[in-house]
């Protein structure tokens, strides 16, 4: 599950890339300690239906259906991850399968093993050779902000995609296995 935790992580703290015009909250300059971000993990046998939100990076190896809202954090859908949900994150990386629209504040990466069926909205989008995508890509700088304010994609962009993305969250060896918080009123988790 954790074959290449750090080598492929897309610089979660880097601010060199063109930030979205609506850059959410400014972050303090990261110290070496702070840069070791903790990652919540949804294990391969975990299935979640509902809405996920929180303040930690997230690695999904299991199944998620509903909505994933971690706008300030990085989300990775691992190779065994299966997501049927709209996902909001800072850097979203997909190695597994996603059916839903992806909104990345900084970047979205669809890895070679990834398959996305849905629309992608992010200032920077990267598709690795071999990845699968069926849907639209919107790299308009204010695209994510616009999508948020409209609560949906632009009319010409009908959401569907199937590809995988892997976020650049660093895998902490002691990462907890379900730190993402699920909204109690709207989600149920079952193992």
């Amino acid at each position: 599950m954790w074959k290449k935790p750090e080598a492929e992580t897309p610089q979660p703290e880097s601010h060199s890339a063109p930030a979205p015009a609506s850059a959410p909250q400014p972050r303090s300059v990261p110290t070496p300690v702070e840069s070791r971000r903790e990652v919540a993990i949804i294990g391969a046998t975990i299935s979640i239906h509902g809405e996920l939100n929180g303040q930690e990076d997230l690695l999904i190896q299991g199944s998620v259906e509903g909505k994933v809202d971690l706008k300030q954090n990085n989300i990775t859908v691992g190779k065994s991850g299966r997501v049927k949900a709209d996902m909001y994150g800072r850097v979203i990386s997909i190695e597994g399968e996603v059916e839903g629209n992806l909104y990345g504040g900084e970047q979205i990466i669809v890895r070679q093993s990834g398959a996305v069926r849905g629309n992608i909205v992010a200032p920077r989008v990267s598709l690795e050779d071999g990845s699968k995508l069926k849907g639209s890509i919107d790299m308009e700088p204010k695209g994510v902000e616009k999508a948020r304010s409209q609560g949906a994609l632009a009319p010409e962009v009908k959401g569907r995609a199937d590809s995988s993305v892997r976020p650049g969250a660093e895998a902490d060896a002691s990462a907890r296995s379900a730190a993402a918080t699920a909204k109690p009123e709207s989600s149920t988790a079952r193992v």
Binding site: L127, D129, L133, I137, D138, M139, P155, E156, V157, K158
Partner: protein, 208 residues
């Protein structure tokens, strides 16, 4: 991946070609002509009916910040089971919203993998999502045999494409002639057409 009913009648069984895989380059005059028409403000909306490619995305992002990728051939009904009758259901396969409008459509060499009726149906469907002046890039081979599946072209620069010649199996080519193709593209006019030495006829169509 096969679409028997959509293809030219009675394709001969595919035969194996050489087993090695290598990349070849294709100098495309039509691509050059098309790109020269695009504004530099990244305002164009592109519909790519080929498969997803990181290099193509990177290249196209110079001209467009909205790109729709469809991989149409992979979406066509397969030959498994009962063969479908008539053209593929493009309205379902390419289910754009009514408000969608594209400035550029990359059809690549898909024409050679569809029969007349299917091409007409596809063109009619695409025409609904074009503005007057929208451009469509298409290739067609006049060779007797073509690769079993559409070629995955990758951009190298504004007039060069690259593609892998896999250990491909070959199939008979439909060998559409320019006059037939022009008739099948109702609502479009041929803006540029080039016959290359390798037998590829390139087209840039413009929506009327």
């Amino acid at each position: 991946m096969d679409w028997p009913s959509a293809r030219s009648a009675k394709p001969a069984p595919p035969r194996a070609a050489s087993a090695e895989r290598h990349a070849e380059r294709h100098r495309s005059l039509a691509l050059k002509a098309l790109l020269q028409e695009l504004p530099e403000d990244r305002s164009s909306k592109v519909l790519d009916l080929g498969s997803a490619s990181g290099r193509n995305l990177e290249f196209l992002s110079q001209f467009a910040c909205k790109i729709q990728i469809e991989d149409l051939y992979a979406s066509l009904p397969t030959a498994d089971g009962e063969a479908p009758v008539g053209p593929p259901p493009f309205g379902r396969l390419l289910g754009f919203s009514e408000a969608a409008r594209f400035d550029v459509i990359l059809l690549w060499d898909l024409l050679d993998y569809l029969d007349h009726d299917s091409i007409r149906a596809l063109v009619a469907h695409l025409a609904r999502f074009c503005r007057p002046g929208s451009l469509l890039l298409a290739f067609s081979s006049n060779q007797k045999e073509i690769p079993e599946q559409p070629i995955r072209f990758r951009f190298v620069d504004s007039e060069t494409l690259e593609y892998d010649v896999a250990s491909s199996r070959l199939r008979p080519g439909p060998r559409y002639v320019p006059r037939d193709i022009a008739h099948m593209f109702a609502g479009f006019r041929v803006q540029n057409s080039y016959l290359l030495k390798n037998g590829i006829q390139e087209y840039v169509f413009a929506r009327e």
